[in-house]
Symmetry: C2
Subunit: 347 residues, 2 copies
DNA sequence: GTTAGCACTCTTCGATTTTGAGTGCTAACA
DNA sequence: TGTTAGCACTCAAAATCGAAGAGTGCTAAC
């Protein structure tokens, strides 16, 4: 971690100025620029000396001799942690409207991804909410036709799952009713961890001749309750990466886009994000810090949102390391609170 | 359409040779190459004369003077329609295994997309099957808790939909049973078109005090039965386009990748494909022929697959115009029949 | 400690040249 | 009459060259 002894105030100011201008221009920044556009009133030569020190300390690097300096990962990290001041951001009415319209959760989340992408000019992702400790709320079996039973399973947060179960011979209405009763009274409010072998054995016993149906049902329940399976991830603005030359060479572009298409890696990012419990729920990964290998030349900002009932989802922004962190963090926070409002208005 | 008078056999042979070598190399092909690598035994000068004719007829074009020739869209079209001979293709055991493993439909389709992408080196898409004339098979209402009813709707092909309906006061078990009976006897086997206002009015009347629940339920049914809503599209190998220089400049790449991310355009492609009833179910769009604007510099090959019950889905391959049509068509046909087998084995 | 000045390094950009593939045309040939 | 050798010509792509310019590091003076 950065000690204060390492950098005096002047060095900090210079570093700040370097990073800020680099975020805007994307070009290496030289000593002359800093000397002119800050209120330090130092000559370029002095700046050069300081820059030389900063480079030695690892906060900035030179792409090649006789080029200006650009921030290193360590420099960015310092910037995000200490230097950056967050500016107030006005509400954008148009976005507001876009979000209002979305009626269903799924559409809403897609919309969120899109709004965020157009608003920030980075690539974005939004995961559907999942529940790490999900509880059973309701089970119902019904005969669809002679050979098939449909099991409707409602989890906390009104997540609905269905499974079709095939049986040799139809169950009578009466038996079905009994079975439903049995299942509901026994399993209601239970989480997946609580449904153990002993319980299953007991259930089967009570079900008598229908024990094999119980087995199938419990399999279905266990299957349905697995969260990863049905976490969806929506992405938007992937092609925004082409706006940043440092990411749009074939090699990088290919890696990043692959990660966005094969959702596997994003899933990884989401689970990792959700597992870390931070106070604000917002995390910044710079370069190598990211859990997604394919994005090691990017910065990734994630936020978690909550629905109550323990349901949590993740929003992510992926862009170049010279990302406009102030803007992004601000947008994230706004979205977070907006989603919060929406979901809590609904209930 | 191409008349036979326009091209004698020698011209056809030369055109064939040009296209074939261009498909392999991706570079404009000159007269010398053709004269050397065919059994025509003609000098390059003669070939040049013929090529000049072929250009005048619009089958090939010259990117610039003093370059070789490349096929025009018209040339490709002739090739696909007449010239191409499909070579036999050996079964690939590894793919076979990959496909076998997938247990659920969703996974299977994702797998199909992936296999096809790695096998062909093009970008691929697979749509989940939808039913253009879907019928209601089963409806069941249940109380989840005091204020919420869950409606489970099963459509032909065992497609299951759920809707949650809020009510002011709970329905008694008895009433629920009646309502279920009423709904099932009335609506069973009906398609969306058959559920008209008269029927709805009659239903509401019979339901008595629960008429407003009926209204909500029917809304839910209508909503659930809409096909577009829940057609999913899986893509794979989008980044394969970077393998073809003619598609990997920023402009094109961005357009194509956007189309793959925002599924809107692909949905368009699917509906268009499904609406055209061809004998083999395989279609080839070359360049401007494609329904997807963003892919006008590509060739698109689509195939439809069937599940019975009128459920149909689409597989698509998107690549450069100089696509290996033989290989692609062969792969498509194989996949088609393989999927057919699988789905009919299951039932 | 700060700064002016200067030599030096590298990239970038444009202009120019070179190279090589490929054509079209003409004249000769079978 | 169709085929071919030969040659002049064209043009894109690659290589070469020479500023121009941005920026640095170092030294010496303030």
């Amino acid at each position: 971690m950065v000690s204060e002894h390492e950098l005096n105030e002047r060095k900090l100011k210079i570093l700040h100025a370097i990073i800020k201008t680099y975020l805007e221009t994307g070009e290496p920044v030289g000593s002359r620029t800093i000397s002119k556009y800050t209120d330090l009133n130092l000559s370029s030569a002095t700046i050069r000396n300081e820059m030389s020190d900063l480079e030695e300390l690892g906060y900035i690097v030179q792409p090649h001799t006789s080029a200006g300096r650009i921030p290193s990962d360590k420099g960015y990290r310092l910037y995000v942690d200490m230097l950056m001041e967050e500016k107030e951001q006005e509400l954008n009415v148009r976005e507001e409207q876009m979000l209002e319209k979305a009626d269903k959760m799924e559409k809403l989340l897609k919309q969120v991804a899109r709004v965020l992408a157009t608003n920030t000019n980075y690539a974005t992702m939004v995961s559907t909410p999942v529940n790490s400790a999900n509880k059973l709320k309701f089970i119902q079996l019904s005969m669809v036709d002679e050979e098939q039973i449909i099991a409707v399973i409602v989890l906390g947060g009104n997540v609905i799952k269905n499974r079709i179960i095939s049986v040799e011979e139809p169950l009578s209405n009466e038996n079905l009713l009994k079975l439903n009763m049995l299942l509901n009274t026994t399993l209601n409010g239970m989480s997946i961890e609580e449904i153990n072998l002993g319980l299953i054995a007991r259930l089967k016993e009570q079900a008598g001749i229908h024990s094999e149906v119980i087995g199938s049902v419990l399999d279905a329940v266990a299957d349905a309750i697995q969260l990863e399976e049905d976490m969806q991830i929506y992405t938007s603005g992937t092609t925004n990466i082409f706006k940043y030359p440092e990411l749009s060479d074939k090699q990088s572009a290919q890696e990043i886009i692959s990660a966005f298409e094969e959702k596997q890696q994003l899933t990884e990012l989401v689970t990792q994000t959700l597992s870390k419990e931070e106070n604000t729920g917002i995390q910044v990964y710079i370069g190598d810090e990211t859990p997604v290998q394919n994005m090691k030349d990017c910065s990734v900002v994630t936020a978690t949102y909550e629905l109550g009932d323990g349901m949590k989802g993740t929003i992510g922004i992926i862009g170049p390391k010279r990302m406009d962190y102030e803007h992004v963090l601000k947008s994230m926070k706004r979205l977070q609170s907006e989603l919060d409002q929406m979901f809590h208005k609904k209930e």
